[in-house]
Symmetry: D2
Subunit: 262 residues, 4 copies
C-alpha cells in the first residue's frame, strides 16, 4: 500500500496543506485525522514566525510524531527567480531538498505560469532539489517539466481554493495515459471527498489539498473524510472499476433483458 516519492516511501496518498486553519490545535487534530504524511508549509508565513502563534510548531510536532515529511512551498512567488531564491531559503530553514514549486501566473486565479515554472524547475533540479511542480493540466507543459528533471507532477484540478473539483477530466486522463510511470498528484481545486476519490480512480497517485479541509465546517472530521476517500478511490482504481453501459440505446433486441441480477 505504500508508494514512493523521490525515493521516500509513504504510507498515505494524501498530502495536506497547513494554511488557513482556525487554530494550531485544530490543525494538529486535522493532521492526525487525515493520516497524511506529507505536509506543505508556506515559507513566507514561517519567516513571519513571530506572529505565527503556534502553527509551525503544530506542524513540526505532528511530523515528529508521525515520521512524516515536510514539503515547503513557494506560494506567492511571481517569477522563477523569486521562487528559486525562496526555495533555497526553505532548504536552509527546513533542512530538506523537497520543494513544492509554485509560480503564480495570474493574480486572481493564482494559476501557474508555465514559463516561469519550467525555468525555476530547471534551475532547482540543477541545484539538487527534489521538485514538486504545481502545474496546469497541459501535456506539453508537463513533458517540459519532466525534461528538466522533475520526477513528480502536480497538475491542478481547478483554481486554488475554488472547491470546484476536476474541471477537465479529459486533460487529467490524457496525462495519466500519456505519462505512465510518472507519479501524478492532483493539487488544488478539490472541494469534496468525492472529487478526491474521482482523481484517484483516474489513476492519479495522490491528492494534495488544503482549503477543502481548512474551510470545512469541521476541519478535523473533514480531514478524516478525505483520508478515507483517497484510500477508497485508490482501492477502487486497483480493484478495476466496472465498464459503463449506456442503456439509452437498445443495442440488443428489446424483449431480451440486458442482464439478470436476481
Amino acid at each position: 500500500m505504500t508508494w514512493t516519492l523521490y525515493g521516500r516511501s509513504l504510507a498515505s496518498r494524501f498530502l495536506l496543506g497547513t494554511a488557513g486553519y482556525p487554530s494550531p490545535d485544530v490543525l494538529r487534530q486535522a493532521i492526525h485525522a487525515s493520516g497524511a504524511r506529507v505536509l506543505t508549509v508556506g515559507l513566507k508565513r514561517t519567516l513571519a514566525a513571530a506572529g505565527d502563534n503556534g502553527f509551525v510548531a503544530a506542524i513540526r510536532d505532528t511530523l515528529r510524531q508521525s515520521g512524516g515529511q515536510l514539503l515547503p512551498n513557494t506560494a506567492g512567488c511571481r517569477t522563477a527567480q523569486e521562487a528559486v531564491t525562496l526555495a533555497h531559503m526553505a532548504r536552509e530553514l527546513y533542512d530538506t531538498t523537497w520543494i513544492k514549486l509554485e509560480v503564480v501566473g495570474d493574480e486572481y486565479t493564482l494559476q501557474p505560469d508555465p514559463w516561469e515554472l519550467v525555468s525555476a524547475a530547471e534551475q532547482l533540479v540543477k541545484d539538487g532539489f527534489d521538485v514538486f511542480p504545481y502545474c496546469t493540466d497541459d501535456l506539453v507543459t508537463c513533458r517540459r517539466l519532466l525534461d528538466v528533471g522533475c520526477q513528480v507532477l502536480m497538475p491542478w484540478g481547478a483554481p486554488i481554493g475554488s472547491g470546484q473539483g476536476l474541471l477537465n477530466p479529459f486533460a487529467l486522463r490524457t496525462l495519466r495515459e500519456r505519462l505512465p510511470g510518472v507519479p501524478l498528484i492532483v493539487d488544488a481545486g478539490i472541494g469534496a471527498p468525492s472529487h478526491a476519490a474521482q482523481a484517484m480512480e483516474l489513476g492519479f497517485d495522490g491528492v494534495l489539498l488544503n482549503s477543502a479541509v481548512a474551510q470545512a465546517g469541521d476541519p478535523v472530521r473533514m480531514a478524516a473524510a478525505f483520508g478515507q476517500a483517497i484510500a477508497a478511490g485508490r482501492l477502487g482504481f486497483e480493484a478495476g472499476v466496472m465498464a459503463r453501459q449506456d442503456m439509452a440505446v437498445a443495442s440488443t433486441p428489446v424483449g431480451g433483458r440486458p442482464f439478470l441480477i436476481s
Copy 2:
C-alpha cells in the same frame, strides 16, 4: 455513527446486493470487506436453490456472523400483483417483514413502474411489511410512496447495472431538500466509489449497489473501496463541504488576491 431503518439500528450505510459474484467464496469475502450489514437477495434465485451452488449459504453465514439483516427483493416482477405474491413468499421463507420492492417497468432499462410500485407498496404496507421501494427520482412518485406508508425511499441514480453514477443530481438534491427526515438510499446505477461518496455528500442516508462490486476486476477489494467511500462521503456531509467559488469572473478588483494561503 449508527442510523436506523424501520426501527433497526445499523452500523454501516452500505447495503450490498448479492447477485452475479464469481463464486460463493468471493461473495463471502466481499461481504466481509464491505462492512455492509444489510444484504439483498433475489427470491427467484433462492427458489431455484437446488442449483444455487452455495450462494445463499454464503449470505446466511455472513449475516449470522455479523448480526446483519437480510433484505429480500422482488427483482424480475412486472406487476404489483406478482410482486405482492413474491413478497409474501419471501416473508415465509426468510422470516422477515423487510422487502425491497422492485416492479420492472421496462424490459431494457429495468426502470421501476411508478404505478405498479405504488400499488404494490400500498398493499404490502397494509399486510405488515416494511417496504423499501426501488423507485425513480421523481418527487411526486416519492411522495405517493410515503403517503401509502413507506418509511424509506430508494431512488435510482441510473439504470441497474449501468455504472453511470448519478445521472440527475438535481432530482436527487430536490428529493433530499423536500423530504427532510425521510431515509433516502440511492439504489442502482452507482459504478465507482466516487459516485457513492457523491450521493452521501448530497445528504443521502445510504447507498445500495451490486454490479459495481460483483463486476469489478477484484470484487473483494472493490467492496472495501465502497465501504470506505460511503463512510467518507457521509463524514464529509456531516463535516460541511466548503462552498464553491467560481473564479472565472473577477468579482473583486484584479490586483487583490481572492485569498492568501501561504
Copy 3:
C-alpha cells in the same frame, strides 16, 4: 421542412409561450421574430381579460397574420378534474381541440403530477381533445400517456422557468430511442439557444419555451435567436453529427497521428 402535429402541418419547430412579456407590443414583435406558429396561452389569464391590457389581442393578431395555431394550456391546475374542466372551457372559448395539459404536482418546482396527468389525459382524449401533455422524462409515464391516446409528448428538460437546460440527457435520449415515430417536444427548462439546439440534435421534434424569451434582456432578439437555434439543431440532426473521438487514450500506436487534416 414541415412537420405534423395532430394532422396539422407546421412550418416551424418552435412553440412559444406568451406569458410574462414586458408589454403586448414586445410580445407581438417576439412572436414575429421567433417564427413560431404555435403559441400557448394560459386560460386563467384570459378569463381575467378585463385586466389583460392587450396581451391576448396581440396573440390573436399575430396568429391571424401568420396562420398559426393557438395552444391553450391548463397551467395552474392541481388535479385532473380541475384540468379537465379548464380544458373544456378553453375549447369553448378558443374554438380548438388542442390543449396543453399541465397538472402541477409540486408547488415549488411546478413539476407534473404523473398520476393526475394520465388521468386527465385519458378523459380529455375520450372527450375529443388533441392532448399535448407536459410530462416528466420518465419512460413508463410517457408510455401510459400514449396508451390513453396522446399522440404527442412534451417532457421537461428542467423545471419551468429555471433555465437550466437539459438536466438529464440520458432520459431524453432514452425516450427518443424507445419511442420512435412519436412527436417529442422538450417543454420547460430551456435557458439558452444552445440548449434548444441540443434538444433538437437528440432527435426531438420541437421545443416549447417561454421564460427564456420573456425574461431575456431583449426578448425580441432572443426570440429570433431561438428560432435560428432550433432550426440549426434540427438541420444538424438531419445532416448527421460526427462521431465523438475520445483521444485521451491512445488507441493507436503513439507516433502515428490519429488523422491528418492539412
Copy 4:
C-alpha cells in the same frame, strides 16, 4: 452585425476549414451553405497541388465569388522554425499576411506547443504577419501571445477532430472575462451545432471548425446548420440569456410558487 479581424470587416462569425471533404464540389457547396467568409487551407496540401484534384480551385472560386478571405495554416509543423518557414511560403503563394499558426505539441492529440507557438508568433509578428494562433485555453499562454503582438486568439475547445465540444467551459469563461476586447475564436473540438452556439453564448467572437462539417453525414446541410447555430448563439449572447434558477432548494417558503406564468 459585422465584426473585425486585423482591420478587415467580416459579415459572418463562422470560419471554416477546407480539409477532408468528399469532393471539391461538396466543399464548394458547403462553403456556400456555411456563409463563412474566412476559409483555412493547409499549405502542405497545396504544395502537393498536382494531386489536389480541384480542392484548392474550389476554395479560390468561392472566395472570389463571396469576397472572402483566405487564412493559410501551418498545420503539421512541429517547431517554431518550421512554422515560420511555412508561413513565409504561404505569404508568397497566397499573397496574404494572414496566417493561422499551428505548432503541434503532441502527435496524438495534436495539441499546440505553447513554447514553440509563442516563439513562432513573436517572429511572425516582427515579420509583418497578422497571426491567428491556435492555442490552448491557458490564460497565461494567451497573455504571452498578446504580449508578442497577436491581436486575435484561437483557443481550442477540445482536440482537433474529436468533436467533444467545450471540454473546459471554465477556462473559456476565464479567457473571455479576463481578456475583454480581444477577439476570441474557439478553434477545434466542436462537434455539433449546439457546441458552437454555446461558445458564442459565452461571449466568444467566432468559431472555426472543419471536421464537424467535413465528417458529417451531409456536409452541405451541416455547414448550413453551423452557420445558423453560430448566428443564433451570438444573437442570444447579445440579447442577454436569462439567469439560471436552481429550484432544488426551496429558498422561499414552500406553498408560495416561485413565479406564475399563466
